[in-house]
């Protein structure tokens, strides 16, 4: 950018308007600079001033001429049409075009800063050992590998080196406020990097941090926020008295209402209000909304914390060294308590207080309750819960991220090789427990929980229902485009697995990314061997896995079908495929019927309690219907019925077609 020194007449104008400078010769301006728009401002050190001919919009309408007013500035550059007013002290910053900074106590960079890039936070294990270096491009998947793969020491060292290279490049003695950002009515901002389209409004104190943003997905830091050593990404909103210390706030996250967090990371679309979090690794879509909730020393994802949820991570022995894992989709009820170390299986609901160390990772979709001081697990119960299905569908619609570069890779399918694989494990576990029990036993004990003996068989049945439904659905999806004209040869072609088949192991849930274990291990090995050269390449490799989900998923399904049918896929005949589709279709319709039955409970007479407060039962019913509607009118129930009709119709068509083909 072409610059020049101030002319004598410009200096005279500035002086007349109450401006002072340590040395006017250190001030450079661009052609188009208008000295009439700089008033009561003191300059020191080198300063660059851009063109000043535009105006800045004010909240509520109206506008003011761009310029510098009532401020003190040291060693700063101002691009074209910046509006700066009543800034106590701005030092060592570069302000990009169109930036507004108004009524701010201080905005300074002191010494060298990485703006929190590379700051290590003590996550999951409060006592340390799982330190997560945060930076402004961190994804949930890279964080997961960094935090959870400490047994892979070479991998970890290599990955930390890649991050070090990245964060070293962020070191600077100058800060930036990027294009289109606004900072207004704030206290002190020290060593804070402000990205594009960021609004900081009414924050009390921000120290050592980065607030990233983009025009497509602006981020917002609002009233009363105090944050130290933090990274906030695009689309995030942190406001209303939140206190953050050593925290990472991912894309689309909402934090506010006096929420406080220390040594925590929140990934895409998390929400934290009112409550407290310490050493929390909050994977995508984890929410805590209520007071008295403390989330401490754990890894969660798609988690919903009820009010008063609490955990203990030490018992006054060697310190706070225990940790918890709540797999995808866990919910905790009001005032539930868990004792770490524990691990709760996917889509399990936790009610009551649990004083033992439990591990139900292989029994997903369960219900964990407290009965007479004991932890009581009802396996597979949540498969029959309308809320589980609703949750899985609502997440997709609630993705707030508008940034073209969505960092966290998230698969939403409720039934997938990870959860269905766990159900297959669950069947084995429950069968083993059933075989080892007698009719006289009321309960059996499994890894810290009690399970009612009678429910072992039910659990197996419901898991099998889920497995059958899933395999049938995936197969029907493959065959539907071939129906009715295709031959057996066409079918074999359509169901053929990928070239990498049969290399199929267990699947992993890498903080939202569902992937075959060996694909993750390949990446881990590549990083360890130095074949992945930078973080961009690592993210790209993870994205390739994400994009290949359907292909890998089908390979897994074929593997399970082979096991169940006792033959290789090349030998599958139409009657066997028809049976898988029949079972899948029947199970889908049956499960939908059970879910509708569960939904009906939300509308039954019991649910009318408290309605029609001063009237008769009939008025109670009418009041209820006016407020809550009816089962028949419920959109989710209608969707279930529509799904059943779709599945039945498709099954009929496929079965008629396959029946006509016979065996080859």
């Amino acid at each position: 950018m072409k610059s020049r020194s101030l002319s004598d007449s410009e200096i005279a104008t500035l002086t007349t308007q109450g401006c002072t400078a340590e040395d006017w010769r250190q001030i450079q301006v661009r052609d188009g600079f208008d000295p009439r728009r700089v008033r009561k401002t003191s300059f020191s050190g080198p300063v660059f001033l851009g063109r000043l001919d535009g105006s800045a919009s004010l909240p509520g309408g109206g506008s003011v001429p761009c310029g510098l007013y009532n401020s003190r500035v040291h060693d700063c550059t101002f691009a074209d049409n910046v509006f700066v007013d009543s800034v106590g002290f701005a030092a060592n910053y570069d302000f990009e075009e169109g930036v507004i900074v108004r009524n701010v106590g201080a905005l300074v960079v002191e010494g060298m800063s990485s703006f929190a890039n590379g700051v290590g936070i003590q996550i999951v294990n409060e006592a340390g050992g799982r330190e997560l270096p945060i930076y402004d491009g961190l994804s949930a998947q890279i964080a997961y590998l960094l935090v959870m793969y400490h047994h892979k020491s070479r991998f970890l060292r290599s990955l930390e080196a890649l991050i070090q290279t990245c964060t070293d490049s962020k070191q600077s003695h100058r800060g930036r406020v990027q294009r289109g950002s606004r900072i207004e009515d704030c206290g002190r901002l020290r060593n804070v990097m402000i990205g594009a389209a960021v609004t900081v409004e009414g924050a009390l104190e921000l120290e050592e941090g980065t607030i990233a943003g983009c025009p497509e997905d602006p981020s917002y830091v609002g009233v009363g926020v105090v944050a130290r050593q933090f990274v906030i990404l695009s689309g995030a909103r942190v406001d209303t008295g939140a206190t953050l210390e050593r925290c990472f706030v991912g894309q689309g996250v909402r934090i506010g209402k006096q929420f406080s967090a220390e040594n925590c990371a929140f990934f895409a679309n998390c929400e934290g209000f009112h409550s407290e979090a310490v050493s929390l690794f909050a994977g995508p879509y984890s929410v805590t909304h209520h007071k008295s909730t403390l989330l401490i020393a754990c890894y969660v994802s798609f988690f919903n914390a009820g009010s008063g949820t609490n955990q203990s991570n030490h018992m006054y022995k060697l310190g706070p060294l225990h940790q918890g894992v709540l797999e995808r989709g866990v919910k905790t009820g009001s005032f539930s308590y868990l004792f770490w170390p524990s691990r709760v299986g996917a889509f399990t609901s936790v009610v009551g207080k649990h004083y033992g160390n439990i591990d139900t990772a292989d029994l997903p979709f369960s219900n964990l309750t407290e009965s007479n001081g004991r932890s009581l697990l009802t396996p597979a119960m949540n498969l029959l819960n309308i809320g589980t299905r609703r949750d899985a569908e609502k997440w997709v619609d609630r993705d707030r991220r508008r940034d073209p570069d969505k960092l966290d890779l998230i698969h939403f399918d409720l039934l997938n090789p990870y959860t269905v694989g766990k159900m297959i494990m669950g069947v084995q576990v429950l069968r083993g427990l059933a075989e080892g029990s007698t009719k006289q036993q009321e309960t059996v004990v499994y890894r810290g929980v009690h399970i009612r003996r009678l429910l072992l068989k039910m659990g197996i049945r419901y898991y099998e229902m889920g497995i059958g439904l899933y395999l049938g659905e995936r197969l029907a999806e493959r065959l539907e485009p071939l129906c009715p004209g295709a031959t057996v040869a066409d079918i074999r072609k359509a169901i053929a697995p990928s070239k990498s088949f049969p290399r199929q192991s267990k699947w992993r849930d890498i903080c939202g990314l569902l992937a075959p274990a060996e694909k993750i291990d390949e990446i881990v090995e590549s990083v360890a061997e130095g074949r992945i050269k930078d973080l961009g390449e690592l993210q790209l490799r993870l994205r390739r896995i994400y994009d290949s989900y359907r292909e890998y998923e089908w390979d897994w399904c074929i593997g399970v079908m082979q096991e169940r049918l006792g033959m290789t896929w090349e030998k599958f005949e139409p009657p066997q495929l028809a049976e898988l589709i029949r079972v899948g279709g029947e199970n889908a319709v049956k499960l939908n019927s059970i879910l509708e039955n569960d939904a009906a409970k939300e509308f039954d007479e019991h649910s009318h309690i408290g309605y029609g407060i001063d009237g008769s039962r009939e008025e109670g019913k009418l009041d209820f219907e006016a407020v809550r509607g009816s089962l028949e009118g419920n959109a989710f129930v209608r969707k279930l019925r529509e799904d059943s009709r779709r599945v039945q119709s498709r099954s009929s068509r496929l079965l008629a077609w396959l029946g006509g083909l016979g065996s080859s």
Partner: protein
């Protein structure tokens, strides 16, 4: 099996699951409203009926049963078709 015997055994099963006296299980009692059963106990009823009467109950249909009488009716039907 006589309907009276089915009803007696159904009441015994329900009382066992809910840990209440058999006398408290009226023939027309609703599992939820009158006996205070929760969703998990509803599942347990199905499992307990299956074990008691050595029958298989369709999951979806069984979970729709709301009352003691309804359970007796359902089990009588299942016994007739499965024996």
């Amino acid at each position: 099996m006589e309907r009276g015997e089915i009803q007696s055994r159904v009441r015994k099963v329900i009382a066992g699951v809910l840990k209440i006296a058999e006398e408290e299980v009226a023939a027309d009692a609703n599992f939820v409203f009158d006996l205070g059963a929760d969703s998990m106990q509803s599942l347990e009823f199905v499992a307990a009926f299956e074990e008691e009467f050595e029958i298989e109950m369709d999951e979806a249909a069984a979970l729709e049963i709301q009352t003691v009488d309804g359970a007796v009716e359902f089990i009588a039907g299942a016994l007739a078709t499965q024996r």
